[in-house]
Symmetry: C2
Subunit: 141 residues, 2 copies
DNA sequence: GGCAAATAATAAGCTGGCTAAGAATATTGT
DNA sequence: ACAATATTCTTAGCCAGCTTATTATTTGCC
């Protein structure tokens, strides 16, 4: 039951975080989750979808859908790159690059709001504990 | 960027937790999330959907869908209760009650796995930090 | 060379979650 | 008593995310 409290807390915390991020991103026409694709491309433009999926730890079909939507709103384009005719690499458009500062600011604002008031020691302990819990779960799978 | 690491960690941790829970629950024919409805009903059978939504902190249309699916697989039934003809209260079926020990065991197994190896002090600190972060986000909204 | 096996992306269809809009019913105010 | 408002639920349609199955292409092996 102690652990159940933690589970409930984790779920609610995650949802609250997503909600706040969703609100912040919606002002730039994005849904929560899409910023991850953009951030990956800002770090390295022209990645294949398989590479994006691996980086973001989501499945290829999910990337496929998200990229299509980002392409529809004009933030990325898909081009089949040199060499492999199967792979459709994803490239930022001018607008996709231009939106970067606003989106990064929005993400940072939510992060700052979330972790406000924690001391350096508390933050370090939180990171350590979360990494431990993550490994407990991920190592199994 | 320190905060961004935390954000990424939080998202991945939450996803890992959901995945493990999903695997555990699928062996009983459930999807992750549905166990929350059942647990609420095990604690208090016959709640209205509005009440369930408030308790679980999800929106009424989400409850509506989930209850319909749980009804389809024969774990709950809906009846319009006394007094208010709008409200359709949700009741566990015999099977909905019978599945309880197995589902609770599955939830606890994931929780134990997740939080294994944390000392009491670490767990307490984790709870405190997560509650703080949750309030930082929820108070805003 | 040619054929089988691996890989890249997509399609179909499911879930939880959301918002907006609608249909019933209750409640409240006058 | 009746009109206006509020509440409860459902429907429609969107998103992220998933699995399974297809289609193209590439690679690897004989």
């Amino acid at each position: 039951m102690m652990e159940d409290d933690l589970s409930f807390l984790l779920a609610n915390l995650c949802k609250a975080y997503r909600n706040q991020l969703d609100i912040a991103l919606s002002q730039h026409g994005l849904y929560v989750g899409q910023e991850m694709i953009l951030r990956a491309l800002w770090a390295e433009d022209g990645q294949s979808q398989a590479r994006l999926a691996a980086r973001l730890r989501i499945e290829p079909p999910t990337v496929s859908k998200m990229v299509r939507r980002l392409a529809r709103i004009g933030l990325v384009t898909q081009r089949t790159a040199t060499g492999d005719a199967r792979a459709r690499h994803v490239w930022l458009t001018e607008r996709g690059r231009a939106i970067r500062p606003a989106v990064e600011a929005a993400c940072q604002a939510v992060a700052r709001q979330a972790f406000a008031g924690l001391t350096a020691a508390e933050t370090a302990a939180l990171v350590a504990a979360m990494q431990r819990v993550y490994r407990n779960l991920a190592d199994q799978a």
